[in-house]
């Protein structure tokens, strides 16, 4: 069968005069340049988007999330008890790991435990859970100790880190260690022999995969794979990447630099557009433990001084691809809110005047702001420069310190004085899936604990609201709480929301039916 298909297509290719090309193959291969090179594989350990996308290729999740943000059955169907304290998940029949062994409830329990150790919101959930047990080969029962309203959302979440399922022997890898093999039950198999870390990752269709019958919608529904092979290539230079898609060496670019889109307008056979409707939020984080930003008035002064539009214009350029809004959770998600929009209201000049006034009133003593700037990450290299310019105009003394991203990353974890390796402000960006509610949004953690994500703001009010959010049953309730949290976060200057940008993907016209999703989905597409 396969042989026949290959044969006919091969002949057709020969007939088309493709003599000169390398060995004629009818294999349908999609070559994609992803937004970052794949260097590590463990989808439970890494919060990076590229590893999550890799996770969804190789691994599957118990539940999926559809385009309306609803949890839906994926590997398992689910039932919730009336008191919402017991969740029963029943695995579909015939699920198999890539090594041929059947997927059992035991495997899934071990996977859930491993995920619950590694994922932040997962850890929160585990503190509410009394037991997770395999009650039969195919049945998993999660029993809560205290009410927790987000079980299904977390099981279905495509945010970092999703609860991917893996065989028990892998899930029992010691804490902190990476799993040794890429054995999942997802729609693609990982080709370990062709993996070149940082350069190339190869996936082939998992012929044993049985998709669900429902139509696909984000990570829910049937994951029907229509291509034989997917190759991810790393290209460090966007210019060369664009040349490669024009010449047909590449079929898909996950994230094109928006300034270069005019080059694609001229290219034949290449289209581009937004395939991830959610985008990402750029965030300017203040270090609440060090002067000057240990002072809420100065944080507020900085928020007035900064300007979303300038920041976005410099980083992205084309206004079609960025959105300015006050929402901490993303501009277009169900919980989106304009609480605290007063910090963004008015013209940039008006806000600058406010900032200068506030700075004077707060008695700023001239402590310099140490702003970290990454030299090797294009998307985040402009904001510190632009922000520094505005903060200086407001009266701050700003010291922009350039370093590579890895240095910045490790430096941000410490809160010692600046002279001893500390920092005052840094910019990062978060995919909207990672911030779309108060539970997953790491920057809204108001515990001030050492284990919280860098910045360490303290707000008991936010902490009690976040606890309330975990048990709130209705969307209206959740919206109200989310808005209240956001108002406090802006009043307290938790961080500066520097606007939201969309990823623009580009693809060759031969590649059809690329479905939108919270990550790039390689099922559904045709070539």
């Amino acid at each position: 069968m396969t042989f026949l298909r290959y044969g006919t297509l091969g002949l057709a290719a020969l007939a088309a005069g493709a003599f000169w090309s390398a060995p004629v193959s009818a294999e349908q291969v999609v070559t994609a340049v992803m937004q970052a090179p794949l260097r590590t594989l463990d989808p439970h350990l890494s919060t990076a988007q590229i590893v999550r996308t890799h996770g969804f290729m190789v691994f599957d999740t118990l539940l999926g999330m559809d385009a309306d943000y609803n949890p839906q059955p994926q590997m398992a169907d689910y039932a919730v008890s009336d008191d919402r304290m017991t969740y029963t998940l029943t695995l579909r029949e015939g699920l198999k790991w890539h090594d041929g062994t059947p997927v059992t409830a035991e495997d899934c329990v071990a996977s859930l435990r491993r995920w619950g150790e590694n994922d932040g919101p997962g850890r929160t959930m585990m503190t509410h859970v009394a037991s997770i047990a395999a009650t039969s080969d195919r049945e998993i029962v999660i029993t809560l100790a205290k009410p927790f309203g987000q079980v299904l959302e977390l099981l279905a979440k495509p945010s970092p880190v999703p609860p991917f399922m893996m065989p028990k022997r892998l899930a029992e890898t010691p804490k902190g260690e990476q799993v040794a093999e890429m054995i999942g039950s997802g729609p693609f198999r990982f080709v370990a022999e062709e993996y070149r870390p940082g350069d190339q990752a190869v996936y082939v269709r998992n012929t044993d995969y049985v998709p669900r019958a429902e139509p696909m919608s984000w990570t829910a529904g049937g994951k029907v794979v229509n291509v034989d092979k997917v190759v991810w290539k790393a290209m460090p230079d966007m210019q060369t990447t664009i040349n490669a898609i024009q010449s047909g060496d590449v079929d898909l670019i996950e994230q094109v630099t928006i300034d270069l889109l005019p080059l694609l307008d001229m290219a034949e056979g290449v289209e581009y557009g937004i395939k991830n409707p959610l985008g990402a939020q750029v965030t300017g984080r203040f270090n609440h433990r060090l002067p000057p930003f240990d002072n809420a008035d100065l944080r507020r002064a900085a928020m007035y001084a900064l300007d979303q539009d300038t920041l976005m214009q410099t980083a992205i350029g084309n206004p079609d691809y960025y959105t300015l809004c006050a929402s901490a959770y993303g501009c277009e998600v169900p919980l989106a809110s304009d609480a605290g929009a007063e910090y963004l209201a008015g013209s940039a000049e008006e806000r600058m005047a406010k900032a200068q006034e506030l700075l004077k009133a707060a008695g700023y003593d001239g402590t310099p702001v140490m702003m970290m700037q990454p030299t090797d990450l294009t998307i985040l290299s402009t904001q510190p420069i632009v922000a520094a310019e505005r903060l200086r105009e407001a009266g701050f003394d700003v010291d922009v310190v350039s370093m590579d991203w890895a240095t910045l990353q490790s430096r941000k974890n410490g809160w010692q004085p600046v002279a001893e390796g500390g920092w005052n402000m840094l910019f990062t960006y978060w995919g909207v899936t990672g911030i779309w509610n108060p539970l997953v949004h790491a920057l809204l953690d108001g515990s001030g604990a050492d284990t919280a994500w860098s910045g360490w703001p303290v707000s008991p009010e936010i902490e009690s609201l976040r606890a309330e959010y975990l048990t709130s049953p209705t969307l209206d309730d959740q919206k109200r709480i989310a808005a209240a949290i956001q108002q406090i976060a802006w009043d307290q200057g938790f961080y500066y929301n520097a606007g939201e940008f969309k990823s623009v993907a580009a693809w060759r016209t031969e590649l059809q039916d690329i479905e939108p999703g919270p990550i790039t989905l390689f099922w559904g597409m045709h070539k």
């Binding site: 300034d259 410099t314 350029g317 030299t375 420069i385 632009v386 310190v401 350039s402």
Partner: protein
């Protein structure tokens, strides 16, 4: 070998310069270099804007009356940045040349004179030379703060062994000269032998070597910036201007070419001057080269 035995330690410059009129390329090189130095010194007067002044509304504009060479992706004036870039590039070159000689010269003198010290130091220098300079520089810059000092140190480290070897070879040659033998026999203190007899023989080759180090340091700084491990964009350097411009190469290649032209002209002039100096000062190399 490099110093005539009859005139030990005589001032080389005075003795050799009036040999013949300079070649026209030397004159041209001198003119370019003076222009670049002038650009660096008078940058604030020459520039039309602050090199760091942003204007998000004026990103990536072509050349115009206001923006003589157009604007970069921050809406900063390219001309003003290129002019200011001269400062850092020249500073990096000077820092690296001066630093590597300041360290390499004493080490080389001592290594040439003291055999025991020599064995240890030369193995270390061999080791330092065996590590490709760019890898060392990338590691040093990436692993520490990406500032001017770090970049100078990172580029300087791999240059030191070259200087040490050069100085050492001259010292070894001088050791066998009769006047040094005589000084030793007369019981001249070692310090005096080194400063009065050995050191002068290294001046000429060091000046020549210094110009080459100068030029190559500027190139290495540009390469580091190009790879994303150079000086941050708040301080414009020709290297980081090009690095930022290369993303937009297909749309406006001049973002890369303008700084490249100035950089190349600057290095060209330093190289030509180095050749000219070598022909004049270093009798061993005389007759070779341009």
């Amino acid at each position: 070998m490099s110093v005539e035995p009859d005139t030990p330690g005589a001032p080389l410059m005075r003795r050799r310069l009036p040999d013949r009129p300079p070649h026209w390329t030397t004159v041209l090189a001198l003119v370019i270099l003076i222009a670049v130095v002038g650009m660096a010194v008078f940058a604030p007067l020459l520039a039309n804007f602050e090199p760091t002044r942003l204007n998000a509304a004026m990103r990536l504009k072509p050349a115009s009356e206001t923006y003589w060479l157009g604007t970069d992706s921050f809406g900063r004036d390219l001309y003003s940045r290129v002019v200011h870039g001269a400062r850092v590039s020249l500073l990096v070159g000077a820092g690296v040349a001066a630093g590597s000689i300041a360290i390499g010269l004493p080490v080389g003198l001592l290594a040439g004179w003291f055999r025991g010290f020599d064995a240890v130091v030369m193995r270390m220098m061999d080791g330092l030379m065996a590590i490709p300079g760019i890898l060392l520089a990338i590691a040093v810059v990436a692993l520490t703060k990406a500032g001017l000092t770090t970049v100078i140190i990172a580029i300087m480290l791999p240059e030191i062994p070259q200087v040490v070897r050069l100085v050492r070879s001259r010292v070894l040659a001088a050791r066998s000269e009769t006047y040094v033998d005589a000084a030793v026999l007369l019981g001249t203190p070692t310090r005096r032998i080194i400063t009065r007899h050995l050191f002068p023989s290294t001046i000429a080759p060091l000046i020549v070597q210094g110009t080459y180090i100068y030029a190559s340091a500027i190139l290495t700084e540009a390469a580091l910036s190009f790879l994303g491990v150079g000086i941050g964009t708040e301080i414009p350097t020709w290297g980081n201007i090009m690095a930022e411009g290369r993303l937009y190469f297909a749309m406006n290649p001049w973002l890369v070419f303008w700084p490249a032209i100035v950089l190349s002209a600057c290095i060209l002039s330093i190289n030509l001057l180095g050749d000219a100096l070598r022909d004049r000062l270093d009798p061993k190399m005389k007759g070779r080269g341009a």
